[in-house]
């Protein structure tokens, strides 16, 4: 086998020759993650809010989402495939179910940790429960929600690589093609961008998460408050 003698240059030339296809896979990869995650946010955030309203509801919902996340990803996709058939739909539903737990849980925890004095003050000055939620509690819970999205995104990017097994697309297709044809160039060409994508997502979303911590918000770029000068 001459594979051991492959150099970095071979890899670069392979990637540049197939850049069109790889780019397409890359975009599809991201697209599936974004759609699955988006669905999870749309459904998961209201579920998290529901959890914060009653301890009993929280127990039930978190129990279910927890179980969903414990199912091995391959098993989940295969089970969904039996129901939804081969294709992108199966992958997206799988990702959605996977991402639900971190998003619901973090929304719930974020809403719970808001200092009760803000809620008392909000209630006391005449906010309705809904206004209290979207003007006070939700903004202060954002950083937690973001952390949930970050965890879900990193998991999802990994899970999508096995999408081709159930008829999905993405960088996983390149990896499996490489495995089947015993071509390590193709494996690398699929695996490296997928790994980089996960790392970049982690860093970017982490930064966003920090930025959304509003509990110690400061005015940006303004000069510090001058010391108060006593008038004589």
């Amino acid at each position: 086998m001459d594979e051991k003698k492959l150099t970095f240059m071979d890899f670069v030339s392979y990637v540049s020759r197939n850049s069109g296809l790889l780019w397409e896979y890359f975009i599809q990869h991201i697209l599936m993650v974004v759609i699955g995650l988006g669905l999870a946010i749309v459904i998961g955030v209201p579920l998290g809010i529901l959890c914060s309203r009653s301890r009993w509801v929280a127990k039930v919902i978190l129990f279910i989402t927890n179980i969903l996340q414990v199912i091995p990803s391959l098993a989940m996709l295969v089970i969904l495939m039996l129901w939804l058939g081969l294709g992108m739909k199966t992958v997206m539903v799988g990702l959605f179910l996977y991402s639900l737990n971190p998003i619901v849980r973090n929304t719930y925890v974020g809403l719970k940790q808001v200092d009760p004095s803000y809620m008392e003050s909000g209630r006391g000055i005449g906010m309705s429960p809904f206004q209290l939620l979207y003007k006070v509690r939700f903004p202060l819970a954002l950083t937690y929600l973001m952390s949930g999205i970050r965890i879900a995104a990193v998991i999802a990017i990994g899970v999508v690589t096995i999408a081709p097994l159930v008829g999905g697309s993405g960088l996983g297709r390149e990896i499996y093609a490489g495995l089947n044809s015993n071509n390590s160039l193709r494996i690398f060409a699929g695996a490296i961008p997928a790994a980089l994508l996960a790392i970049v997502a982690d860093i970017v979303l982490g930064a966003l998460q920090k930025k959304l911590d509003l509990s110690k918000r400061k005015s940006s770029g303004a000069a510090p408050v001058p010391p108060k000068i006593q008038k004589v």
Binding site: D115, S117, I125, G126, K135, L214
Partner: protein, 389 residues
């Protein structure tokens, strides 16, 4: 005017937090609710903005029963300031102050004008502070913003729940002064909760003193200081007054300095004949009964023992009378004397936190102490320890 009419509050667990409260908060006055923690002062205040609903009785604002009003609407017309400030950390100062005008859908121009005016009113330059966030302000500045937030929508009634108690003493004094100044300009109806008597005396038009869910005394600060209704009020005022006087290094003797440290005591299982014997030999007319842990159980007087003397089987425990009055170690002598005077006692026991008998303040011991303190008042005597004979 706000009226609380026969208000009771009983919680689900049966705790009777407020007992038949009847109160009137006059328009344009600062009414201070004061009392030890758990006395129901905050609970009473929160009745007014429906954060708390009475179990029975009525709350009337300008003659209207508030139970018929939408609580959210009601609260928008009542300013509210809490101890932990409660400024929203994710909104800048202008937005924080404008929160209620915003809820009431004032137009932007009117809101901005009001916010700037109020910031300037409490000495925070609006050009600097509008866009700051709460975490960039000192505690005193934050609470100034907390106070003007309660004024922003031209509320006539302001509720303040221990608003200054988390501040350092200097900021607290400043804010109290500022509140008084603001009130002279604005004439709001302010209900102010505190546990600090100095604060109450400084700012109140009317003080309402509460204890265990009941109103103990209501009146002008001057009237309460001059005519405390009972021992509790006296105590509540006294402790604070004395504390500040102690700072002026004026020494008020403690009961511990005055008491007899080895009063005559007996164990509960002693017989009556033994008791008489003990009194005889120690030349006293009563015995304090303590158990092995020195816990004070009761007292017997010679008359009581003689009355029951016929019954041989009795012990002192059977005939003793519980001690009705005692003072805690660390109390001041005036407190003990006041107690003895108002209840015609010839002595009063001193106990520690666990009801252990430490000593006895008697009329004799008080006189002896005075003699030691005021030796100069005695007629000229040869130099000595000044102990008059």
């Amino acid at each position: 005017m706000i009226v609380l009419d026969h208000v009771n509050k009983v919680y689900d667990d049966g705790f009777h937090a407020l007992k038949d409260i009847n109160l009137e908060f006059k328009k344009g006055e600062i009414t201070v609710l004061i009392g030890p923690s758990g006395c129901g002062k905050s609970t009473t205040m929160k009745l007014i903005n429906a954060l708390n609903t009475p179990s029975s009785g009525k709350v009337l604002i300008d003659g209207k029963d508030i139970s018929g009003l939408n609580p959210v609407e009601l609260r928008r017309n009542i300013g509210y300031v809490i101890q932990s400030v409660g400024l929203f950390p994710h909104m800048n100062i202008a937005k924080n102050v404008a929160v209620v005008p915003h809820l009431k859908k004032w137009d932007k121009e009117k809101t901005d004008r009001k916010v700037n005016e109020l910031l300037d009113l409490v000495g925070l330059d609006h050009t600097i502070y509008r866009n700051r966030y709460p975490s960039e302000l000192s505690g005193g500045q934050q609470q100034r913003v907390g106070v003007i937030r309660a004024l922003a929508a031209d509320q006539d009634i302001i509720l303040m729940d221990e608003p200054f108690s988390a501040l350092d003493p200097i900021s607290r004094e400043q804010l109290q002064d500022e509140l008084i100044r603001l009130q002279q300009e604005l004439n709001k109806t302010i209900i102010f909760v505190t546990h600090d008597m100095d604060e109450a005396i400084k700012i109140a038009d009317t003080i309402v003193l509460m204890k265990d869910g009941q109103i103990v005394q209501t009146g002008k600060p001057e009237a309460i200081l001059r005519h405390p209704a009972n021992g509790f009020v006296r105590n509540f005022i006294g402790q604070k007054r004395l504390q500040s006087e102690n700072e002026l290094s004026y020494e008020i003797p403690l009961v511990d300095d005055v008491m007899i440290t080895n009063p005559v005591t007996a164990f509960p299982n002693r017989g009556l004949a033994e008791a008489i014997k003990m009194m005889e030999s120690k030349r006293v007319d009563s015995l304090f009964i303590v158990d092995r842990n020195k816990q004070l159980q009761g007292a017997v007087s010679i008359y009581r023992v003689l009355d029951m003397y016929g019954e041989e089987g009795k012990t002192v425990a059977d005939v003793m009378i519980p001690v009705r009055f005692s003072v805690a170690s660390g109390s001041t002598l005036p407190q003990a004397i006041e107690l003895m005077d108002s209840h015609q006692l010839s002595n009063v026991p001193v106990v520690d936190g666990n009801n252990r008998f430490l000593g006895l303040v008697t009329r004799g011991s008080v006189v002896k102490h005075l003699a030691e303190v005021y030796p100069n008042l005695a007629p000229p005597q040869p130099a000595g320890e000044g102990e008059p004979v």
